[in-house]
Amino acid sequence: MGVTAIIVLVILAILLIYVIGIYNRLITLRNRYKNSFAQIEVQLKRRYDLIPNLVETAKRYLAHERETLVAVVAARNAAAKDLQAAAADPGDAAAMGQLAGAEGALGSALGRLNVVMEAYPDLKASQNMQQLSEELTSTENKVAFARQAFNDAVMAYNTYKQSFPPVLVAGAFGHAADAALLEFADSEAIQAAPAVSF
């Protein structure tokens, strides 16, 4: 019986090492996509910090458009809150969906503001406004870029997790659910950055 037992043990040991390898790879990939969310967070935060300035500047010219401005601020605050929740657990489907929704709302609020501002050439021409819009455009581009990197990392994780043989053990190691991509409803629009194109 000795030799058979030994062979079984050898196979067992190799199997064990292989499974440990899968486990570590899953952890690495998960850390990687969680870390790449930090990039999105940095850019979105910068964007949310810019918006109050934008509103402040616009307020002086848009005395009669209070509603639009209030809507922008509300959308911005909601998005900032959802960002916090999403950053706590990147890849969670609900949190990603919430953030995407809030970002969509903020985008359309900014779009409405943009339409309103068309009627105020002085505001459009003000240097402060031009600088703000330039910065806002560039953060939007950066968000899109960081989002691409995040989604790539999420895809790498999901693909590995669903492949064979990791699929056999992923669930047992606490990697049951796929990580969710961060897709903005108007992602095409954001890449073209129309929100504050003066």
Binding site: I7, A13, N24, A38, K142, F145, D152
Partner: protein
């Protein structure tokens, strides 16, 4: 001792240690196999009716020892050790990043707005540019203790890790001392040694782990074993546990003894790089008074304990199991007249002071005078490259001052662009733009088509600043951009590389300058290829010929001068019939395989090659920027950290 001898010695020591550890494993295998076989023989064959006496036990055992069984068990144990070591080896192959991630490190965003984080990034950048390695990514561990580590196989995949306490409680000078200490580990090849040790130890540890699993899975606890199989499993498990943990214990002893010596060396090198013993000594004194000391909380800290700046793990066997010499001893070696008092650690203001004027002002003045006089035409004086070769892996305080000065002189907008993952691509694109039309227009057209639209916008924005850039700042700028570029996702990197190719080929040819830039960027971002063979200098004649010819042609010599320069350089190499290749034979398609081939050489072979290359560069008394960049790209590919070429370096 120079860089190449250090590397050579580190490699010899590493092989010696690995052989020793293998011997240890073999003896472990012998002991455990015989023990297991003896138990099996005893349990399997013993007649329960005869009473067991010591004498009969031994004769029974030797008589019944089943040699095929011993063999089988040896195979099992060797298999476990080999598999465990290989597994760890492959895990660590992915470089310093894997180590930092398993220690719960968080990558500091190069564009961070946190002042503390900016401080450590600046210190690391200065040291990297001073020593001529790509700027390593910096990870922070959220821990109140004061500690740091360096990990990775080569300068390309090296990372620096620091604890939060380290950047909060240390002054800039102290941080510089700590970072210089970590860089010294990179230059002395300690990281390769460390990874090999960790990998082998992991294999031995696994024996114990397998034993533990056997013990747990033994049916002994459940059934009233009819035969002896349960008992056998139990016995085998126990033996494996004892052997595995004893092996780990002695392995750790070896690891610690080696590590302690490396720490003294790194402390001494830190002083050599910064010329400031107070910096690192004060950092050590602060660890002494810090509440959390240097203990690191991360679960995997024990495995990597020897990679840290100071003791990361409290150990019961303090003196002979310690991975680091006692703090007091280290401080006394740095400051023999130390009075034994520690420094209290207060959070330091993170505001960046101007580069220390008291220490730097004299050298800075001299540097200004020297560089101002000789570098007017974007050229460097003779012997600059030879001096830089001598300083490989041993940057001096003057190199650090030069790096600080270069960084301070850099256009803030360009520096910021290099720190931003987003615009770092555009920066590299911009550096490849040809100053002359019509190539420039066709490059821009190609970029507009292939690159992301916003990257193209950035190139346009940065183009003027880049045109005004001091050519000597091109390489530091690339070095700054590398940590950002390393964060590109695979699809983003693919597109980036595609754009690089289009920019370079816009004029249907690859200039030496373009090749050098491309080589530096790609070599530092892509993981190193698997290498199975070693190259000897002796059979690399044609490769050396290509490199020397390229460097000669990158200069401004006429044909006769070129030939004498080439011959003078070639005389340093052990070949008889070296001939200067014609200018059009030295192309990227010849250079690329040549450096790839030569990069696997032993350090002792790299030294004469680097010296010959330096001779070729400086023969006519001038070093052109193309020559400097080419030399740097080659040194980079050969994993030799070549410091910036200085007019007046301070040599030891």
């Amino acid at each position: 001792m120079n860089f190449f001898e250090q590397q050579e010695r580190a490699k010899r020591n590493t092989s010696k240690l690995v052989v020793l550890l293998c011997l240890a494993v073999v003896s472990l295998v012998a002991i455990s196999s015989i023990a297991v076989a003896a138990i099996l023989a005893l349990l399997g064959q013993r007649d329960p009716n005869t009473p067991l006496t010591a004498g009969s036990w031994f004769t029974q055992m030797t008589a019944l020892l089943d040699w095929p069984l011993v063999g089988a068990i040896s195979v099992l144990v060797i298999g476990v050790v080999a598999a465990g070591s290989l597994f760890k080896h492959f895990q660590l192959r992915s470089g310093g990043k894997a180590v930092a991630e398993s220690l719960n490190g968080r990558l500091i965003d190069p564009g961070t707005t946190n002042l503390e984080e900016q401080k450590i990034l600046n210190v690391v950048e200065e040291m990297a540019i001073a020593s001529g390695i790509p700027v390593p990514p910096v990870y922070v561990m959220e821990d109140e203790s004061i500690n740091a580590f360096a990990a990775g196989h080569t300068p390309q995949d090296a990372v620096i890790g620091v604890t939060r306490g380290c950047i909060r409680l240390l002054t800039r000078d102290e941080l510089q001392g700590v970072v210089a200490h970590e860089f010294s580990h990179i230059f002395h090849g300690d990281m390769r040694l460390n990874t090999k040790l960790v990998a082998t130890l992991h294999g031995i540890l696994l024996i114990g782990l397998v034993g533990y699993i056997l013990l747990r899975s033994s049916p002994f606890r459940r059934s009233n074993a009819k035969d002896n199989s349960a008992l056998i499993l139990l016995a085998v498990g126990l033996v494996l546990i004892v052997v595995g943990f004893a092996g780990t214990f002695f392995g750790n002893l070896i690891k610690s003894a080696v590590s302690r010596q490396r720490e003294f060396l790194a402390d001494a090198s830190s002083v050599q790089f910064t010329r400031n013993p107070a910096g690192i000594a004060n950092a050590l004194k602060k660890i002494g008074s810090n509440q959390a000391g240097s203990a690191v909380q991360a679960a995997n800290a024990a495995e990597y304990s020897h990679m840290f700046f100071s003791r990361a793990i409290d150990n019961a066997f303090a003196t002979f199991m310690a991975t680091h010499p006692p703090l007091e001893q280290r401080i006394l070696r740095l400051q023999p007249d130390w009075d034994g008092s520690f420094l209290s650690a207060q959070p330091e203001s993170a505001v960046e002071p101007k580069p220390a004027p008291d220490r730097a002002s004299t050298t800075l003045g001299a540097l200004h005078a020297a560089t101002g006089a000789t570098l007017a035409g974007g050229q460097l004086p003779a012997n600059a490259s030879q001096d830089a070769i001598a300083a490989i892996g041993q940057p001096s305080a003057k190199h650090v001052v030069y790096a600080q000065q270069t960084l301070a002189a850099l256009d803030p907008e360009l520096r910021q662009a290099a720190h931003d993952i987003y615009s770092a691509r555009a920066l590299i694109y911009g550096l490849l733009l040809d100053p002359a039309e019509p190539v420039r227009s066709s490059q821009l057209a190609a970029l507009e088509k292939t690159a992301e639209p916003d990257a193209y916008q950035y190139v346009i924005k940065l183009a003027n600043k880049l045109a005004a850039l001091d050519p000597r700042s091109r390489l530091p700028l690339v070095a700054l951009a590398l940590p950002s570029l390393k964060q590109l996702s695979s699809t983003q990197y693919k597109r980036f590389k595609q754009c690089l190719g289009q920019l370079i080929l816009a004029d249907k040819q690859i200039s030496l300058m373009e090749w050098a830039l491309y080589r530096i960027v790609v070599h530092n971002i892509e993981p190193p290829p698997l290498r199975s063979h070693r190259t000897a200098l002796g059979n690399s004649r044609s490769e050396c010929q290509v490199l020397l010819s390229a460097l000669v042609h990158a200069g401004q010599m006429d044909s006769a001068q070129s030939h004498t320069a080439f011959d003078a350089a070639a005389s340093l190499l052990p070949f008889q019939d070296m001939k200067l290749l014609p200018r059009d034979a030295v192309t990227a398609t010849a250079l690329e395989p040549a450096v790839t081939h030569l990069s696997t050489m032993a350090p002792s072979d790299k030294r004469p090659l680097m010296q010959a290359l330096a001779r070729a560069v400086e023969y006519d008394g001038f070093v052109t920027i193309t020559q400097a960049e080419l030399l740097r790209a080659i040194a980079d590919s050969l994993n030799c950290p070549l410091p910036p070429l200085l007019a007046d370096p301070d040599l030891h």
